[in-house]
């Protein structure tokens, strides 16, 4: 959890009265970002019950810095917990676009991965990735809290690999050509 335990280009030097710690901006920003993933508070179906159990004291997602936010303006992560109906899909799209960047999506459970048991239903979206991009898929019906925690850890690993400079370069490239 601590910055010292994470891998990264870190230089530590002891000086009288303290320590000097040097690192790259990416390492520091990614560490801050992955340690305070704030998800949007919303659940769609029974997976939401498992999600709530994961938030609660027994599994305690709070120890990863995960605190549910009631508004998309303050959220970094969207956990799609449950069946995405065709009526709900445009609303999910809207909520996703209301979130500030960088934003992440965890698709939790068979329903939001692919439609799951409702694949043949007339009213269910065949996977939330038809509507918004997904970072981590969690299989299960519903997934256990441990599976959701593992998805959060996978997302943290993904965030660790981000580079602001590379992202800025990528953004500038199409404009230059």
């Amino acid at each position: 959890m601590g910055i010292l335990l994470d891998k990264g280009p870190i230089y530590i030097e002891k000086i009288p009265g303290g320590t000097i710690l040097m690192s790259t901006a990416d390492t520091f920003i990614n560490w801050a970002r992955k340690s305070s993933i704030w998800p949007l508070t919303f659940g769609l179906a029974c997976c939401a019950i498992e999600m709530m159990a994961t938030y609660a004291s027994k599994h305690d997602l709070d120890r990863f810095g995960i605190i549910p936010r009631p508004t998309p303006r303050q959220a970094d992560l969207m956990i799609i917990a449950g069946t995405v109906t065709k009526k709900m899909a445009p609303r999910i799209e809207l909520l996703y676009h209301q979130m500030p960047e960088p934003r992440f999506v965890i698709s939790m459970g068979s329903c939001s991965n692919s439609g799951g048991p409702y694949y043949d239903a007339y009213s269910v979206c065949k996977g939330v990735d038809k509507v918004i991009p997904v970072d981590v898929y969690v299989p299960g019906c519903p997934p256990r809290p441990e599976a959701l925690i593992s998805a959060v850890l996978a997302l943290q690993k993904k965030i660790e690999g981000y580079s602001m400079l590379a992202a800025a370069k990528k953004k500038a490239e199409p404009a230059a050509t």
Binding site: K86, K87, A89, Y122, C125, K126, K130
Partner: protein, 157 residues
């Protein structure tokens, strides 16, 4: 009241009404089943609701069945006062423009259930004050619980 007593009370006012007999082996309770035409449904409901001997004060549910050749709307009535039950079945022959009078004026609980039947099976309830889709999006095409419903793939499929 027993089923026979309910039948005789109703038939005293509506002599043409026929009981639907229980077929041997059919999974169904011992309550009285009546076949009602759409034309006399509203008056009959008004009668069984307010007749002191019958007093069906509670509409347990409204549902509909697609028998491929025709639709059927089913009303399950309960009297909390006399502890007896009654089932009304209305046959709707017209598949292209099925229509049944609303009974939400007799039992207000029928309001949303009739809307759901309209949403899923497309049976119109004449006289309903707010007959529009309740579960599906407003711009949905077709009625998905009909047996001949063919889903149209959209961008979510």
């Amino acid at each position: 009241m027993t089923a026979a007593e309910i039948l005789s009370t109703i038939q005293a006012k509506y002599p043409g009404l026929q009981e639907i007999p229980k077929v041997l082996g059919q999974a169904r309770g011992d309550e009285l089943y009546l076949s009602v035409s759409a034309a006399e449904l509203h008056a009959l409901c008004q009668f069984v609701r307010f007749d002191p001997g019958l007093s069906f004060d509670y509409l347990s549910f409204v549902t509909s069945v697609d028998w491929k050749t025709h639709f059927e709307v089913v009303y399950y009535l309960v009297s909390t006062l006399h502890k007896h039950k009654l089932v009304l079945k209305v046959k709707v022959e017209d598949r292209t423009n099925p229509e049944v009078p609303t009974i939400s004026t007799v039992w207000p609980t029928a309001d949303w259930q009739e809307r759901e039947i309209y949403d899923m099976m497309g049976i119109k309830f004449k006289g309903h004050y707010n007959l529009r889709r309740i579960l599906l999006p407003d711009d949905w095409e077709g009625f998905p619980l009909r047996k001949d419903y063919a889903p149209k793939p959209d961008r979510y499929d």
